[in-house]
């Protein structure tokens, strides 16, 4: 479905362009992707019990693949259902209880990081539309790193300080354990996102391109 080539509808001057059924499908399935990634192979790190999962990969990929609005919706939906009691947080946890746990900051950070990287991805894709070569992947990786450092790690540290009553230096050190994995996961997320945009040009790329050429 190439809704961008179909300007006869849904482009009315509304608050926002409305999502069609394909967008709903993408939002729902990426929310499921984030949920599934939390349930598969969670390895608790250190004594703190904040487990390592493929989740940051899924979260960053959601932003890179769907752009800010739909990524916000997808990760938001995941959080909402988790808070509502579905056991889809890492380690099969659920409910508002996680907000009292040490990983609360990370969980909230996911939402902001996915949105931020989605927004940056749209900017990068639009600016590098005519360039080939390494620039696009490098900029996307930078976008992913900046978003995850500010939101996931930043809020993650804050969460451990508030909920686990750690002082900053201890929380910072505990958080440091996630960096090597995160760098690898961000590299993976960018390369997967680029492959997805190649396989499905109308996922985000064509939207960006048509939005760009519009007066």
């Amino acid at each position: 479905m190439t809704q961008t080539e179909n300007p006869t509808k849904a482009r009315a001057p509304r608050r926002r362009s409305r999502w069609n059924a394909t967008d709903l499908g993408l939002i729902a399935v990426f929310a499921a992707l984030v949920a599934g990634s939390a349930l598969i192979a969670a390895i608790p790190v250190g004594g703190l019990g904040v487990p390592i999962t493929l989740q940051t990969l899924a979260v960053m990929l959601t932003g890179l693949a769907l752009g800010p609005a739909r990524a916000f919706a997808a990760v938001g939906l995941y959080l909402l259902l988790g808070f509502a009691g579905l056991p889809i947080f890492s380690g099969g946890r659920s409910g508002l209880g996680v907000l009292a746990g040490p990983s609360a900051g990370y969980i909230i950070g996911f939402l902001l990081a996915a949105t931020a990287v989605g927004w940056l991805a749209v900017v990068v894709l639009a600016r590098t539309a005519k360039r080939t070569g390494k620039l696009r992947p490098i900029l996307l990786f930078a976008a992913a790193m900046v978003s995850s450092i500010i939101f996931i790690h930043g809020l993650g540290i804050l969460g451990m300080m508030v909920n686990a009553k750690l002082d900053f230096s201890k929380a910072f050190l505990a958080d440091l354990a996630f960096y090597p994995g995160d760098i690898i996961k961000n590299v993976l997320a960018v390369s997967i996102a680029l492959a997805l945009h190649k396989a499905f040009p109308d996922l985000l790329l064509r939207r960006v391109r048509t939005a760009d050429t519009r007066p």
Partner: protein, 268 residues
């Protein structure tokens, strides 16, 4: 009834735009219409035009006067669509819930909706399976359920994209009988030549063009020749030369295109 189909479909691809369906102009008014052709020939695109899943690049598609782009909601109320793989179509975990989902827009009252869903399931003999997980049903039961969920809202036209491809012989027979008993107009694409022979009119699509349009028997014969042409015959010479009917039988159409029929969906 589809009174006018005048269209061309292409997608903005790289390096060049790709034409999926050349210009064509059709009136589809017969009660039973079949579309046959190799994988990737444009069958799926043609069917997807009929309820607005694919918008035409040029021209218009009208269902009883309703344009598939401008009045897409109205068109989808009138034209039900059944996919090859029922699992991609069934959204809810059980049959009962899926049929109720179909009815959500038309029947607001929950009890009335439930009652109507049961009567629909009963009509297709699916009531005993209503609360079973769709993953535990057989392929035939699933396809029947997908059909039931679409027919629940009583469309005027039923479009089916290769409905029998994933079914075994027994379930194909069940599907044929079910389709024969429907009062809706039926338009389907298929590789099942037996199913094609049940139709009043059959279109043969090849490389984005309608290359034959007429009675079922003649269309099937045309399609056989078309599929055999260009294939190396088992003996080494060109197909059809001196092999008689056998050469035609050997040209299994499913293998001609190579790509799975999903291709149509992805391109669209």
């Amino acid at each position: 009834m589809l009174d006018r189909v005048t269209v061309r479909v292409s997608v903005d691809g790289r390096p060049a735009p790709k034409t999926l369906l050349e210009e064509l102009s059709l009136n589809l008014t017969e009660r039973r219409i079949g579309v046959i052709g190799a994988n990737g020939s444009g069958k799926s695109t043609l069917l997807r035009l009929l309820n607005g899943l694919v918008p035409p690049s040029d021209g218009t598609v009208r269902v009883d006067g309703a344009d598939t782009v401008r009045a897409v909601r109205e068109v989808r109320r009138r034209v039900g669509f059944v996919f090859t793989d029922p699992l991609s179509q069934l959204v809810m975990p059980t049959g009962r819930e899926d049929v109720e989902l179909s009815l959500r827009r038309s029947i607001r009252n929950a009890a009335a909706r439930r009652a109507h869903a049961e009567s629909v399931l009963d009509r297709f003999g699916l009531l005993p399976l209503a609360d079973q997980s769709i993953y535990e049903l057989s392929g035939g039961e699933r396809q029947l359920l997908a059909l039931a969920a679409v027919l629940a809202v009583d469309p005027q036209v039923l479009v089916l994209d290769e409905p029998s491809t994933l079914l075994d012989l027994r379930n194909r027979e069940l599907l044929r009988r079910t389709l024969a008993g429907l009062r809706q107009q039926v338009i389907l694409s298929t590789h099942d030549l037996e199913l094609a022979r049940d139709m009043d009119r059959v279109l043969v699509v090849d490389d984005g063009k309608v290359v034959f349009d007429g009675r079922a028997a003649a269309a099937v014969a045309h399609y056989r020749d078309l599929s055999a042409a260009g294939l190396p015959a088992p003996g080494g010479g060109p197909a059809g030369s001196g092999l008689g009917g056998l050469g035609g039988e050997l040209a299994v159409p499913e293998q001609a295109g190579g790509r799975p029929e999903r291709a149509g969906l992805e391109k669209a």
